[in-house]
Structure formats: C-alpha cells, structure tokens
Amino acid sequence: MPNIVVCYKWVINEQDISVKEDTLELNCSRAKYKISDYDRNAIEAAVRLCEKYGGSVRTVSYGDENVKASLKDALSRGPAEAYWIEDPSSITADSYVTANVLAAAIGKTGAYDMVVCAEGSSDTYAQQTGARLAALLNVPAVTYAMELDWQDGNIIVKRKLADIVEILQMKGPVVISVLPEICEPRIPGLKQVLAAGKKPSTRLNVSELSLSDEQLKPKNRLIKIKGAVSERKHVLIKEEDMAKNVDKLLEYLRVE
C-alpha cells in the first residue's frame, strides 16, 4: 500500500492581485490565499492512488503566518494528516531554501514510498523544488508525470516528454513531480470539509529541522515584481495587392 507525502504551497490567489496602472506595482493587500492550482493535482493524484490501493497520504507545507489557514483546505481534499512549517523565512525563500526546509520536514514525518509535488507552483512556476527535494532526500526524481499507478509494490509512472511518452516502473522511495493533466482535482464535499477539522495536523518549527543558517539563506533575491503590459505596435499593412500584404506581414514577423 503506497505511503505518500504530498507537498503543496499556499499561494496568493492571482485573481485578487491588482496592478497599479502607472507604476505597474502589484497590490496584494486584499488578496486571499489558495492551494497552488497544480498542487491540487498532486494531492488528488496521491489521494486517488490510496483510494484505489489503500495506504495513506500526508501533506507538508512551508509558508508564512497564513499557511495554517490552508490545513483544512488540504485535508478536505482527502489526505489523512497534515504537517506545516510556519516561519517568516518563507517570505524570502527561494526554491533552494524551500527544498531544504521541506526535505528536513519530510524526514521528520516518517517513512514514505513517494513524495508527490507539482511540476511547478502556480505563482512562480520555477520547477525547481521537486528535483531539489529528490537530491536532498537522496532518492530518484521523476518529473513530468502524467499518470501514476501502483502495482504489487511498484510505482508506475507515465512521463510526458517532448515527443515521447516514457513509462517507468520503480520501487520507492522516490520524488515525483506531476503535470496538471494527471487528473482533475475534486471539489471537496461538505462532509469532507467538516471532517477535515478533526484530522490531525502537526506544526514543525524550523528550529527543530537542524538546518544551518546557510541552508535558510536564499540564493536568489527578489528585487522587484511588476505587472506585465503588452504594448501594441499599431502597424497597419494596407497594400492594394493582397499578395504584397502577405509579404509585408511575413517581413514584419521575421523581424520580430
């Protein structure tokens, strides 16, 4: 029976972010949080596997003071247990720090067959944490998973690569990062939501994770984040001859 850890990120709902028209600065002051969209796929994939074959799913999340509000949301989607690391270091954390914290935390939660996470988070989509986690946990990383199955103690993963689909069979432990197409996340029922409050959740402190200052220091520093604007060039091609129009269009496209 698979024993699965799922990592998820509690992110700002991008729909609630407004962009200041003149400075293009982002205003997140009124934004609400949600479980990163792709992480919902990861949770769902893990839960479905356990619904089919037995086993258990627990979640681990690292975030700031808001992360505790994610627990019921995560647990209502099927996992049996949640661990969370609430620490201000998460505000400036990059995927290096995040992976260090998550790897240390996963070590505290017991044995596992697989760690499942999304290919990337819906806020930065850096696609770093999964692979880094595997390196830190010293287990294989399986990326771009589009199907996940379990047969006689073996993990079966279908990977979607550029022009081929690769099917792998392996024994755990392993870190698997999944694509959104792996499954459609469920909308939890009311009873699952109400039951989520009764499931166990454990807070882990960064101080318990035996991490050095260096491991908590981000390699990347975010200098500024701005809204994107697409500027239109307002080029109008208006030749009499349609063939010439096409030629000119192609010319412009080549330059671009």
């Binding site: 949600k34 949301d73 909308i187 939890p188 029922g189 009311l190 009873k191 939501v193």
Partner: protein, 379 residues
C-alpha cells in the same frame, strides 16, 4: 470585505465558488434561454452533500451552520440564480419536518430530501391566496385514518419534479383564516397528485414553477405535521428561514452584477479612455459595492441569530427587503453601464436584471416585509 467568518466557513464559501465557476457558470446562459431545470447541477450538489446543508448528518444533512448555508447560496446565485433557487426551495422543505415532525416522519422523509432522492416542494400559495396565505382554500377532509385533499396550489417551485411536498390545507372549513390551516407531508409515490404546466417566467427561468393539483388525494393521518390548526405557524417559521436564503441569493445576483460592471467599465473605451475613468460610472460602482456589503452583513446577521437560536424574524425581513431592492436597483445600473450591450440576450447583466426581480416578490413581497418590520416597531 473581510467578513467575520471562521476558517471553515471561508473554506465552504471558497468551495461553493469553485463549484459555481466550474459547473454552473458555463451552463447558466443556456439554462436561462431554454428554461431548463438544473437537474444535473442539483445531482452534483447532492454528491457534495449540499442538498441538505443546515440539517444534521444523522438524517443525511450536511451538518453545517446556517451561515455556511447562506454563503453557499450566495456563491451559487452569483453564477446561476435558477440553480440557487432550486436548491433553496428544495432545502427548505426538510425544515418543517425536522422542526415540527415526529421522529417517524423525520426518519422517513428527511434523509430522502437531504440526499436528493426526492425533490422537495413547499406548497402554500394558491390562485386566490398569495400574500394573504391564511385565505387558502385547498381542503383536507378527515376520512378514517386518512385525510382527503382537494384543491390546487399555484407558483410552486420544484412542483413538477417534487417527490415530497409540504402542503398547507384547510382542515377546518368552519374556521376562516389561518387558524383552520394544517400542514401535511405528501409523498407523491403514496399519494399521487398532478403538476400543471411549467410557468414561463421573466427570470430564474431554469427554476421549475408549476401548479399542483390535488384530486381526492388520500394522505395518511400520520403525515400531518404537528397538530391540526398549526399549519400557518409552521409555514411562517419556514418562511422566515426562506427569507434569509432569498436575501443571500439577492446578494449573489448583485455581486455578479458588480463583477460584470467592474470588468466592463475597465475594458470598454469611449472617448479614448475606459468607461471607468468617468465619475458617473465610478459612483455607480461605489454605490453597488457599498450596498452589497451592507446587505451581506444583514444576511449574515440574520443567519447568525438563527444559528444561536435567537429570534430572527424581523432581521430576516430586513435582510430580505434590503437585499432584494438593492439587487434590483444595482442590476439595472449594471445594465446601464453596459449600454446597448446590456440590453442584449446573452449578456450576463441582462439575465441578472431579470433574475433579480424575483427576490422582491418570492417569500414575502417587499411591501409585506415593510409591514413586518414596522409592525414590530409600532405594536
């Protein structure tokens, strides 16, 4: 606006929004156009334990509080008012059974309703008794161990689809007015009755509204709710709850109108700049947001009183009156902001404006609620 909601209530609200965006929004226009009953959406809601939200889980209910229930209705109405009304009208039917019914009645009927094994309908209104519900004519005559029902009900939500209805009928023809009225559970399988044609309505067109016709319909005496003559009290208690739910739906409709108005006024450019740059538009939007926030708080206040077991009738009337009139006013404004486009079928605000109107009429007209509120102050 940050509402004083618990983490659980916020999660339930978020999930209702997720469901509405994913499952209701894409179908809402078609449902409105065709006047199609949202059965599929209701089945999905049942799978999510949302067809008996405020009732105990031991009887198949969702086991949530009334605040969660009104939050769900608001979010559903924001995407499809017809589905929200269908759910609200269905859910209310288990209320009088659970509150006034015998243990036997509760065990037999509440789970069937809460799990949507049967649709529920609340059959009070008649052709000659709308607001003046106590004047109803439908009769229930005692015959041995049964009552024989004869008469017709009008404008019954879910009428065509209901398997169980809570029916109000006159058991004492010699006592005029509300005192001669009693409430019954009518199980359509055991006591067949007919539904008339589906009414072709201005708005909430997917909601099923029919006449119900009872011809010598034999109902066992064990299906009487409470005692003979208690019918009107049972009806009014149920309606008080229903009023909060209609108010919540009005808030959802108005919120959808505001969402559309904000989007359109930022996108639409006239005289070289977005509509939103005009103070006339800004003020309309500000007024909408202000009134929606106020109405939402009135709804939550009434629901909270109900959750706490305190009297909430007047507060329910205030919430319903304010939210319904606010929804009507602001859906009209949203159409105005959209200009010609707002008058065209298929534009969401056009549907919202038609949908909003029902909230001023159903479960007590605005005029009745003014009577209730002033009556309480001037008694």
């Amino acid at each position: 606006m940050n509402l004083p909601l618990t983490e659980e209530q916020q999660l339930i609200q978020r999930i209702a929004r997720e469901f509405a965006e994913k499952e209701l929004e894409p179908r809402a226009e078609e449902i409105d156009k065709a006047g199609e009953f949202p059965d599929e959406a209701m089945r999905m809601l049942a799978d999510l334990d949302l067809t008996g939200v405020p009732y105990p889980q031991e009887y198949g209910g969702g086991g949530a509080d009334k605040i969660s229930y009104v939050l769900i209705l608001e979010e559903l109405a924001r995407s499809c008012a017809a589905t929200a009304l269908t759910l609200g009208a269905h859910t209310m039917v288990a209320g009088p059974i659970l509150e006034f019914g015998t243990q036997e009645q509760i065990e037999k009927y509440a789970p069937r309703l809460c799990k949507l094994e049967d649709y529920g309908a609340f059959a009070l209104t008649e052709a000659c008794s709308g607001t003046d519900a106590g004047a109803l004519m439908c009769g229930a005559a005692r015959d041995g161990d049964d009552y024989i029902i004869n008469g017709a009900k009008m404008f019954i939500t879910n009428g065509g689809y209901c398997g169980i209805c809570v029916l109000f009928a006159r058991t004492d023809p010699d006592t005029p007015g509300s005192k001669g009225v009693s409430a019954f559970i009518v199980d359509r399988k055991e006591s067949p009755f007919e539904a008339g044609k589906h009414e072709d309505k201005m708005g909430i067109r997917g909601s099923d509204t029919t006449e119900l016709i009872f011809r010598n319909c034999r109902v066992p005496k064990g299906n009487l709710i409470g005692k003979e003559g208690q019918g009107m009290r049972i009806a009014l208690t149920t309606l008080n709850v229903g009023r909060i739910t209609i108010a919540a739906q009005a808030v959802g409709i108005a919120q959808a109108a505001l969402d559309e108005a904000v989007k359109h006024s930022k996108d639409r450019r006239q005289f070289g700049r977005p509509l939103a740059k005009n103070q006339a538009i800004q003020w309309m939007i500000a007024d909408m947001a202000r009134d929606i926030a106020a109405a939402r708080l009135l709804v939550l206040h009434a629901a909270k009183l109900y959750d706490e077991g305190r009297p909430f009738g007047v507060e329910a009337s205030m919430a319903k009156l304010f939210a319904a009139e606010m929804a009507m006013t602001h859906t009209v404004k949203a159409v105005q902001i959209h200009g010609g486009l707002g008058y065209i079928r298929g534009t969401k605000v056009e549907r919202l404006m038609r949908d909003a109107k029902f909230t001023e009429i159903l479960e007590g007209t605005s005029e009745v609620h003014r009577m209730i509120i002033s009556g309480d102050l001037l008694k």
